[in-house]
């Protein structure tokens, strides 16, 4: 079907070894041979079969990237950064969307392992899986991004939001809020748990203990944020400020508000973890904690590539987040 190295060899009147040599450029080949081969390659439109090459060389020059949700601009930006860094070093990346489902994640890991990727970047579901173990036990380099699983000895690149969350809590308290609520991600998840704990702790330390009914859990997706916000708004005594633990849940929360005649920030203040451009333009612009996502993606790819090329020891990296104050947080309604 496709033209192979044999066809080229035949047409150029040389051995396949010679063709391989001129194409790889690794070995010396006489000018005459070189020219003959090159013109046959050109003439036949020969493109090497990467499958065969990888099988032989035991390296696929391919990275696997499994994100939790492609619809989340955060992961999209990470993917973009990873792809850039990878392709600069001659690696391509297979992007997979686990869609917040451990099953999908497992099945993609299976595929990636079978395709013998040279390395894996993943923002993993809560717990490890046999599929993830396959990578670890065959020594394929893995790095976690954003999320993590402890005790696997796998390096993680993620953002630490504690300081920024502290600033946010202080910001809200200073504005006069006494009833803070949070729409948390899954607490078993590292970012979910960390953001929640940080928010609760900072509030408590400052004498603004957060009651149970003000703590809602979502799955980092939009619809769950909307649902949580609806419930919060329906409370007999609703909170005056709510913190959404990622951008999609915040989007959902904003949609929930929009369904009612509640105004932001007059009736309720809203803030988000994870900043995106759109937050500048919403009504009102949303106060958010920005993650240096480009840097995150880059660092992750560099780390993985370093591990693959044995140039670097795996070592977790934590980047600082930053609070961006906009207009979605104001003083609480006077009527309390």
């Amino acid at each position: 079907m496709s033209v192979t190295i044999k066809d080229v060899a035949l047409e150029a009147g040389v051995s396949t070894a010679t063709v391989s040599r001129v194409l790889s450029g690794k070995d010396t080949v006489s000018m005459r041979m070189r020219d003959r081969v090159l013109s046959s390659v050109e003439g036949l439109g020969y493109r090497p079969n990467a499958l065969a090459r990888s099988l032989r060389e035991e390296t696929s020059k391919t990275l696997g990237l499994v994100v939790s949700n492609v619809m989340n601009p955060f992961f999209t930006a990470v993917a973009r950064a990873v792809e850039d860094a990878a392709s600069e070093k001659g690696y391509s990346v297979i992007l997979c969307n686990a869609d917040e489902s451990p099953d999908k994640e497992a099945s993609y890991l299976d595929v990636l392992f079978q395709k013998r990727v040279d390395g894996l970047i993943i923002s993993p579901a809560r717990t490890s899986s046999p599929q993830l173990q396959s990578f670890v036990s065959s020594g394929v380099p893995v790095v976690f991004v954003d999320r993590t699983i402890e005790d696997l000895g796998i390096p993680t690149v993620r953002v630490d939001g504690r300081k920024a969350i502290e600033e946010l809590v202080e910001h809200l308290l200073k504005l006069g809020h006494e009833r803070l609520a949070v729409i948390s991600g899954p607490p078993e998840t590292v970012p979910g748990g960390d953001r929640l704990k940080a928010f609760l702790a900072c509030a408590a330390e400052r004498g603004a203990e957060i009651p149970e009914e003000y703590v809602r859990f979502g799955d980092f997706r939009r619809e769950s944020g909307r649902q949580a916000m609806r419930e919060l708004l329906r409370l007999r005594c609703p909170p005056t400020a709510v913190f959404a633990a990622n951008n999609l849940m915040c989007l959902g929360a904003l949609q929930a508000v929009k369904e009612t005649d509640v105004r932001v920030p007059e009736d309720v203040s809203i803030a988000s973890f994870d900043d995106i451009v759109w937050f500048e333009l919403t009504q009102p612009p949303v106060t958010a904690i920005a993650q240096p996502v480009r840097e995150l993606g880059n660092a992750t790819a560099e780390m993985l590539l370093g591990m693959i090329e044995k140039a670097r020891e795996p070592e977790s990296l934590i980047i600082e987040a930053e609070l961006i104050v906009r207009d979605s947080c104001g003083p609480p309604p006077a009527s309390q």
Copy 2:
């Protein structure tokens, strides 16, 4: 390094052929062999090497998807839909981001071809390339999505926005606008050219000829929309309504407006081609032309899969877009 079919065969005391047979399930194998093989597979944690299998079977069960820009929610949604449809049929997809660059596109096509993908979905740059030709001439099924190149005999799945644009123009005219402007995508591009032509033609037909200085060109990316909008606003006689030809350029336009004290829609009306959730929440919510993107992605994947499995004749498909009226278009300022 990794455990191979040989290891399994050895440990189970059978031939590799037998192992292969029980794993593929294509041939009959005695229960005893079956059990022995399965327990060895389990015990050794064997995972087949897809590279070897693909090389042998001449099919990789992999699709290539090259999008113009992963940061565009439109393509992200398409990717999501394609991935879902593909994985349902046992195909994985390699997602590549051409980033609006013909060079990157060419290099990804090269990689995808070398990895012997079974089919390709691409929203192509303006013109064809030798890399794209490789696919065509080796008979690998290709389908275009959103964008297209004529005369290649490649089926295209895209959205027709003419009717919706007509409605939009009427909407604007009815509101009393006389100075319409457009921030167009690259006119050599099919969606770029089509949207521009439709907008200009509809306006002209209704006696609202659009002067040259009201026609600005971007590259479908945010920054170009921002730039174009800045220029439009700086005109001695600025337009009263502007139509951005995709969501990212509209985002840029909104940012440009935000830098000034111009208000939407009081001072200038804005509308976008390509609707996204965020447009509900911006200040003001943006009137936009919605593309049924899920349907688009699904249809594209189905078509490709059909072609791969020889079940279907390639046949272009055009889906209708729909105008969603929100608040970003109002009457023009009185002072004219």
